[in-house]
Every structure is written in C-alpha cells, then in structure tokens.
Assembly symmetry: C2
Homo-oligomer: 475 residues x 2
Amino acid sequence: VVDHTAADEPATGPAGSPDGALLEQLTAVVGAGAVSAGDVTADEAHDEALTVAPVAPLAVVRPSRRDEVAAVVRLAARHRVPIVARGSGTGLSGGAVPVPGCLLVSFERMHRIVDIDVDNHVAVVEPGVTLHQLDEALAPLGLMYPVYPGEQSASIGGNVATNAGGMRAIRYGVTRNQVLGLELVLGTGEVVRTGGRFVKSSTGYDLTQLVIGSEGTLALVTEATLRLHPRPRLASTVLAPFPRLDDVTAAVPRILGSSLVPSVLEYLDAIAMGGVTAAAGLDLGIADELRAQAAAYLVVLLQADDERRLEEDTATLAALLEEIGALDVFVLPPKAADELIVARERAFFAAKAAHADDIVDVVVPRAAMARYLHEVADLASAHGALVTGCGHVGDGNVHLSVFQPDEERRKALLSAMFRAGMECGGAVSGEHGIGTEKKPYYAALEDPAKLALMRGIKDVFDPAGILGPGRIFDR
Amino acid sequence: VVDHTAADEPATGPAGSPDGALLEQLTAVVGAGAVSAGDVTADEAHDEALTVAPVAPLAVVRPSRRDEVAAVVRLAARHRVPIVARGSGTGLSGGAVPVPGCLLVSFERMHRIVDIDVDNHVAVVEPGVTLHQLDEALAPLGLMYPVYPGEQSASIGGNVATNAGGMRAIRYGVTRNQVLGLELVLGTGEVVRTGGRFVKSSTGYDLTQLVIGSEGTLALVTEATLRLHPRPRLASTVLAPFPRLDDVTAAVPRILGSSLVPSVLEYLDAIAMGGVTAAAGLDLGIADELRAQAAAYLVVLLQADDERRLEEDTATLAALLEEIGALDVFVLPPKAADELIVARERAFFAAKAAHADDIVDVVVPRAAMARYLHEVADLASAHGALVTGCGHVGDGNVHLSVFQPDEERRKALLSAMFRAGMECGGAVSGEHGIGTEKKPYYAALEDPAKLALMRGIKDVFDPAGILGPGRIFDR
C-alpha cells in the first residue's frame, strides 16, 4: 500500500503552503512535466528489496541535466526537505525507497552516453544510462563495461551508489574498479568533478572512491567516467556438479591458483540450481541420477580471443575439476551456456517467485565459504527456516534466500547470519549495499568508531543532512 | 643542513620543560632505545624529493606495535605536537620530511609479515615491511605482490600513504587496487580496522580507499591486508625504438586494444634511455646508426605460464610494433631484459646523478600523452630548461626530469607543466603524491570546493590536526 499522505496535493500544492512553494520552485527549475506529486507511480514508491513497504514521496522530480540537479538540491537544502535518488529502482536493500515528505530525484531523463572514447577505453555517461544501453553501444566497438550485477536494466547511477558487483567481478572487479571519475552535486548544491580519464592518481584524497558505495548519502552523481575493456570474442562455459558444497568451495583456490583466469566463477546449491533452471524453463541435460547426487554446482566461464587457447583452457579446467572431485564436467553448448548464465543472473527473481522472504549477500574470505555455509545451515535449522544459496564463490560473496515468513524469527536468523559472516572475517554486504533494509543489522555489528567517521564525513558533504535519509546509518 | 634547533636536547629533555615531559612520556611508551632526540640521523631529516631541505624533528619515535602507536598519537594529540609518519623514506614529494618540533614516527621496527594466506591470496603485513622483503617471502609460494614503484626498499606503509604505482600498474593496478583492508590509528589515538580478506564490499563508506593516498594526514597505518596474485613463470621483454615520440604514444592504444596483456608498458625518450643505460653500464647492442634515429623507445614486458603462448604473444607484439612504425624490434635476452627493467626502475637515480633539479609525475589520459609531451617540450624551451622523460605510457603517467637550476624559472615552468597536464584532462601526480613539495602547485590548480571537502574529512579523522602537517594541503 502506497502511503500517499504527503503526496496527494497537486504539483503546485495549496498556494502559500510550504510544500506548495517548494513544488512551484521545483517546477520552475525542471518544468511542469518533470515534477509529479499526486500522480507518483507505484513503481517509484519502492525498489526490489523484498522487505520494503512502498512509500510515496512528497514529489518525484526528473531533472534533465546537471544544473537542474544542483538547483533542486539547493531548493531542498533551503527547505530542509530530504532527497532520495533513484536510478532504475533495481536495488535490493531499499536504497531508492522514498521517505515520507522527501523529493525522489529520478535520473530517468539523464540517460545520455556523453562519450565513448575508444583510445582511452573510457565511457562518459549520465547516471540514468542502463547497463543494457551501454552494452548495446559498446558491443559494435569490441568493448565492454564489465559490471554485470544480474539486472541489465540497472542504471550506472544506482551501480555507483551501491558499488554493484556481479558475476564478472572475479575477473574485472566491481563498480569501484571501473569508475575513474564522477561529477557530483553535494548536499549544498555545489558541483565538483573528481578523477578523470586516467587509471591512477595520487593527487589528494580519492573522493571518487569515497562516493562509490555511499548509497546517495554524500552526493548525487550527475556523470560518471567509466573504464572499458576489450570484449573477448569467444567464451566457453563449464558446469560441474559436486557431491558436497565443501567440494565446490575447496575447488575455488585451486582454480584461482592456476593459470586460468575465469570470467565467471559461480556456485549454486542444488535447490538454487533447481529454482533458476525451472524458472527459466532450462533443461541442461543432466541425468536425474546425477542430479540426485549433486549437492552443489560450479559454473565457470572462460573467455579468450583465440580458439585454440580457449579449447586448451577448457580442457585444463575440466581436468582440474575432475581431479577436485566433480561428479561430471559439462562443457555447455553456447545456447545452453548463455541461458544458464542468464538464468543465474535471474536467480533473484527465481527466489522472489518462490516467495523467499528475504535475501542477503554476505561476503566472507573465499577460503571461509565452506565454514560460513555450514554455519548458515546450522542457523537456518535452529531458526526453523530454509536458506538456499548461490553466489560469486570466487569472491566469497554468497547470495542467500531466506524462507521464514515469521518476521521476528527471520530477523533473529538474519542477525545471526550477518554476525557469523563477520566472525568469518567478512562483511554484511558484498554488493547489494545496506540501504534501509540491512541498516539495523549493520548498526548492531559495525564498530561505532567507524560509524562516527562516516557520520562526520556525511556532515562534510551534506551539512543540511538532506541526502539519502536513513540509508546505511541514521544521522 | 639539518635544522637541529628543536632537537638538540637529550631524549628526556630539560626537566620540567613541556618537550621534556613529552619525551619522558614517549619513552615510557616505547622504551628508551626507541626515542631519539639529539641523535636524529641525517637520513631521517629528509626523503628522496630533490627539492627538500632536511629538517630535524623534535624526536624520532620507533614504536614496535599498534598499541604503542596509539599511545604515541594520544600523547601527541594531548600536547598538540604534530606527527610525521616515515616508512623507508623513499618518497619523492616530501611526504616523510619532518617539520620543526614534530614527532617523526618511524615504522622501521614494525616490519613483521603477520600472515601469508595462500588460499585467499592475501598477505597481512605491518607498515615497515618492504617490497623486497615481501617479495622474498612470496616468491617461493608462486605468489606476488605486484606493486613495483621503482624502489624495492620502499615500505608498504609508505606505498599506502602515496598510493604507489609503478611499472606493473598497467596490468595489475596500483596500491589502491591491492589493499583490501587496513588497521588505522586515527588522530585521536582510536584504533579502527577497515575491510578484510575479501575483494568486494558494499558495507558503508570505503574508509580503506579514503586512507590510501592520504599521505599520513588522516591516520597512521599499523597493518595492511594486501591482495596477492599468482606469479607468472615466464617473461619476454621487447624493446622498440621509434623515430618520433608520437609514434610511441600512438602505439599504446593499439597494443592495449589487442588481445595482448602487457605486464609493463614503458616509454623512455632518447635522453632518458641514454641516461638509464649509462647509469647501469648497460649495452643493449643497439647499433649507433639506429640509436641516432631513435627519438623514443617502448619497452614491453609480456608474461605467461606457457612457453608457446609467450612465444606467440611475443611474435604478435613484434609484428604489431613493426606495423606501427618501430625502427626495429628487439626481443631481449633474459639477462639484458632484467637489467633494462632494473635500469628503468632506477631512472630516478639516473636523473638525480645527472643533477636533475626536480622531477614530476603528471598523469594524463593515455591518448593525450602525445599532446602533453609536445606542450611540455614547448614549455621547456620557453623557460630555457631541459625536460627529459620516461614513464608508464600505458597509464598516461609520465615522469619528467626538469633541468633548470634557477628556482624561480623552474617553479614557473613546473606550474605551467602541471597546468598543461590538467588542461589535457590529467592530474598533478599519478603516483608520487603531493607531499610538501608539489603542494603549492596543487593548491593553485585544485578546485577550492574539493580542498574544502578534504579539509573537512581531515577534521573528522584528526580533530587536533596533528597528522601529516602541511602535506597535500594546508589546514
């Protein structure tokens, strides 16, 4: 149910009311068609986090360029009205969910690819550009932007806010490793540009890195300079069922210690594999007998430009997997391989369709995955829940779907799961972010001295405290 | 000349003087042998920046563990005495040079490799560990820490402070890309731990990245968690002279757009090549006639585990270089190759021996290198100076030795060179840092809004303003 209490006025508001004055001023900045108050869409009231209740903002504002964003922020600062930024709304932690009375600044109109600079392997984009849109522009040039967080409709702005990761992080790193510079609107409305079309700098504090992953609490991103990579021509996908989950996690250091450089290194437990293949209507041709023995699957994507090398690497990988204890090794035909990767990418939606009650994406040291997953199994059992998983096993980043409809019991389980992750040397989130939904768990586990540093940094960027209200931590 | 005015007292100081009281308290923390006041070595009064005048601190303090560092910082905060951190003193921007009356906190006793975690590809080290020391420990394990900034006696702590780069950054990235976590002592003496043995996180602001490159102004690093990589078994080094510098810079996008993944991609202009080979007593067997035609050289290191692939890649590279216009292509015998890489690594010392008056390490977009180097040549000529260069051409990071003994004319030239770099879309320093020596140039060129953010962040980490006095910016 959308809470419309603060948003049922027309965009101009009752004459003379403070909200009405603000809405008039916003309209003067971005134009009448770009401010919605009474007619906020249901979509804009939430993101993809499974646990959020939709909330309508005071208004949705859709700026079309940097100067409009700056003017909107200045108005909000003057009126002390909080701002929530929204890209495509595909986040999983509530980062884009409005608070009552806020302005939801949607970047949907700022979707221009400003430049693709082939010689520097750089793209400059507005925050509303989607991964799909960027990929369509890069493919004909033989280039790629490698971040692949499981949803190609995600926007670059949202990716920057959450430091999005995804399947290709094992080879290319996460958003943090691709963003070379940002144009930012601070909480005061000031505009600063950080970084540039270069891959290294030792010139003052790295403000680019500070803003990446700050979930809209420090600044609004109005432009990003991204690092591109040559697009490998050929790919080979290997699927290996293992009798035990421990065999999968034990395989990872062996693969990463070899000469092989996987582009994707994923695991799925048997339930997750069943879920994603069923949701995708995908038959990989694995015999029932084998499937009955398989507790977990490893999916490895190798890429190369040279056919012979790819074949050699695939053979090396297959031999290594057999040596490590795979029940069988399937080199998937291209179509099935693509379908499996897409199905894995859609694992969140499979979990959602199966009515998972929450999902988490804890990161632990990769060699601690086995220990962590055992602890999770014990915790799930102790809390009367089903927890099923898949994830970026090469990065120690596990996505766990939690099935426990009782909110209190589920929260107790989640607390215990996050705590166990940190006790394994990990962190609450590898790529989804804290947002509003993981905040209570994070607040309970994080060092108060670090939270104090973060609050202090936020005050520097956003002295009025209007940006990203209640995301990551409370002010 | 070392300024001993503030340091000629014995370590205990005149009884009852404020300095004496501090020195007594410091001695109680770290032990008598670990505080030096009157007997500061000449080495500790400076770093390797060509322009610094040595300055003696009030005292050198040599803590042996984290809690001692924290206690030293608390004492300094209470007495409002500034702290300059020192690793191996190999910095090139004055970052480790004392200010009168400061404590120089030397990390020479904190040189323990705490752990090498093969399964996670992680090393945990104290800040005084040197690159050489770490490499000796990793080589037998088939692992490497890839940062190679031209001085293997450099310490990890200093590398973190400056975000050290070096020749292998083209493949592996710089210090920023290797540091997964830090243990920090803030300006209040509080201890916090950031990050961990994982390669990705979206769990609050990335304080690790914020501290990297902050040149000792935010916190003292007492432990670093580093990312390791498999150590390639085989290497091939290719040297190609070109008739014009522009040919070299034009070659770079071609090489990086191919399937080749160079581990090193360096250029040297003819003078720099002459300097480094002469300083190293190295004869590469290039005929005089060819040398006379060569304006610049490209050095490319390829690495692999497989002999056939390395040969193929070397042949591909050689063909590409010929196509691009190399005067010749030399595949160097292993010994000569190693010697050339080491000689290139020692380019700074060659420049120093040739009495260069200053060196800078501007970074520009790699495709802007040609334009930038032309502008530098014009500026050098206009300022009656000789400027010769080499550098990490694949990263757009150029090291320029400036020969102009007149300080005023040299400073005018440097200002113009930095400005030109920024106008090409670059930044003042790619890897040396700002320190004290590049600060006036940086202050004149940086956006005041960004400097204000940095000062605000510094106040959060170091409210008493004692850490890294006058480094990067004035408070």
